[in-house]
Symmetry: C2
């Protein structure tokens, strides 16, 4: 049995415009890396964290990765010492599922090291528990696509019902991360608890259209369905220049786009790497008009989720 | 050119639990029949109506069938005399898309008689205009599945965007029409104009699940997705015994079910004609406990929509 493994888990775009709390997809870049090492010393410990500028807790009982691994080991009744090295390769608080990627990488890694006593789908509740600690509620719209890859629909939370959707060929994601910070909790608190029935109808029409578009491989339908009349109008006020950035993406040939997760990152979908690259340049240039620097990530949809890289 | 044609158009189940205003499907039985006859006398006239107990307007400018045909002829700039014979074969105000079936049969018939100057999809706005007269608003969730057959998603009304979804094999509908009357306008007025965001999220999770279930031919997922946390709890108070009727359907093996359109009919889906038949008996028996007589309709999903029958 290997005693040490290194796992990559990808960034994810939750909500996907119309699908607040129920839809998400994984990308190839960026992502986090976690090294998990089995130890003869009992307990689960954070050995090191790189790339977080010291912002993540080092105490095992407060870090989402170690807590998720602890819960996993407790569930299996295994008393195994574990050392964790976390290499953050994406920005925190960016709306890219940063905590989800670290947590998924961690539980995937320990499950691999122990010769897969659980199926990948069984790992989901442990990763969700990590989200509860990171964000205040056990959402699955980042951890599920991070763990399963591709587009994932969270049909229901109680009971948990997660459906992996096929990914059309020729679907590419552009994500632009502006250097402004939005706290997930703030982005959630700004939302109204009640919505107009008429708006909700438009939203679930678009959710139906997006799911149908993915399954029918109809990229035009996917594009028409990437509309959010409920969340985006409220949250986009937290992102300076959002309207212009989205318009720049559309003008550059995007099928559609919206806020990634709770922001501030903005995503767009398109039908080729070339388009996705040009769209990223246009979006970044639009942020620059507001004197906001940004990082651009361009990649195909990630069909596989986490992977062992060492 | 034929001078006379007889067309059948099917009953439809709008909303389909979670998909208020955006989803509907067509069944094989019941349905309405319309005979359209070209006439040398100018104008569009209702020649006869059977089966409505005198409740439908005979004046051409007030009847949905004649108005839709009038609009169609005006759009094409054709001055053609038309006689209409309408044979109602399903109950009015039942939640089965009665006005939609008559209207669709009418516009389909005149289009056939004139050698199809319009595509079937192009007929949709004329049938929707008929719904505006019958129900007070131009909804498409009955006329679209009636016209196109199968399951139909109305992703958007403005602009109109209608997507025909594949129908899984082995999907059967039971519809039970209790002899109580619910006015579409009353059923609409009873709804709250605002809904909880949490409920809306559940609803669009289920819409996504239902669309995915249809496309993946996953009848278990279809069943899990047939849940309506927004409309059914409000409207079901207008249907005596609704909870017991729905439970009887589930106990008899239904995948799921809900109110058909704005009621009072109740539908259930299942995976065989045998089950659909048993489910219908159980639902009818549950209504009988409330001293309510009912009609039971059992059929496969109708994949084709209207058809020429003479």
């Amino acid at each position: 049995m290997a005693k040490r493994i290194k796992v990559f888990a990808p960034a994810t775009v939750a909500n996907v415009a119309c699908g607040f709390d129920v839809l998400g997809f994984a990308v190839q870049e960026p992502g986090d890396e976690v090294i998990v090492t089995l130890s003869d010393t009992p307990g689960v410990r954070i050995h090191s964290i790189q790339g977080d500028n010291g912002r993540l807790p080092r105490e095992a009982e407060r870090n989402t990765v170690s807590i998720s691994i602890l819960n996993y080991l407790e569930k299996l009744g295994i008393h195994q010492g574990v050392e964790i090295d976390l290499i953050k390769k994406m920005p925190l608080g960016s709306g890219l599922g940063s905590s989800a990627a670290s947590t998924v990488a961690g539980v995937f890694a320990i499950n691999e090291l122990l010769d897969k006593p659980m199926s990948v789908m069984d790992l989901l509740p442990f990763a969700m528990e990590g989200e509860r600690i990171a964000c205040g509620s056990a959402h699955a719209d980042n951890v599920a696509p991070c763990l399963l890859g591709g587009f994932v629909l969270v049909r229901s939370y109680d009971p948990l019902d997660v459906i992996k959707l096929p990914v059309p060929k020729n679907l590419y994601a552009t994500i632009v991360h502006p250097h402004v910070e939005v706290q997930t909790k703030d982005a959630r608190n700004i939302l109204r608890k009640q919505v107009e029935l008429n708006d909700a109808v438009k939203q679930w029409g678009n959710v139906g259209g997006l799911v149908a578009g993915l399954l029918l491989e109809d990229t035009a339908l996917i594009g028409r369905s990437l509309q959010d009349v409920i969340i985006e109008p409220v949250r986009s006020v937290l992102i300076p220049g959002f309207d212009e950035v989205k318009q720049a993406a559309m003008d550059a040939g995007a099928l559609g786009g919206s806020i990634s997760g709770s922001g501030p990152s903005v995503f767009a979908l398109s039908t080729s790497m070339e388009k996705a690259t040009v769209i990223g340049q246009a979006m970044s240039a639009a942020f620059a008009k507001y004197s906001i620097e940004s990082d651009v990530f361009v990649s195909p949809i990630n069909p596989e989720g986490p992977k062992v890289i060492g």
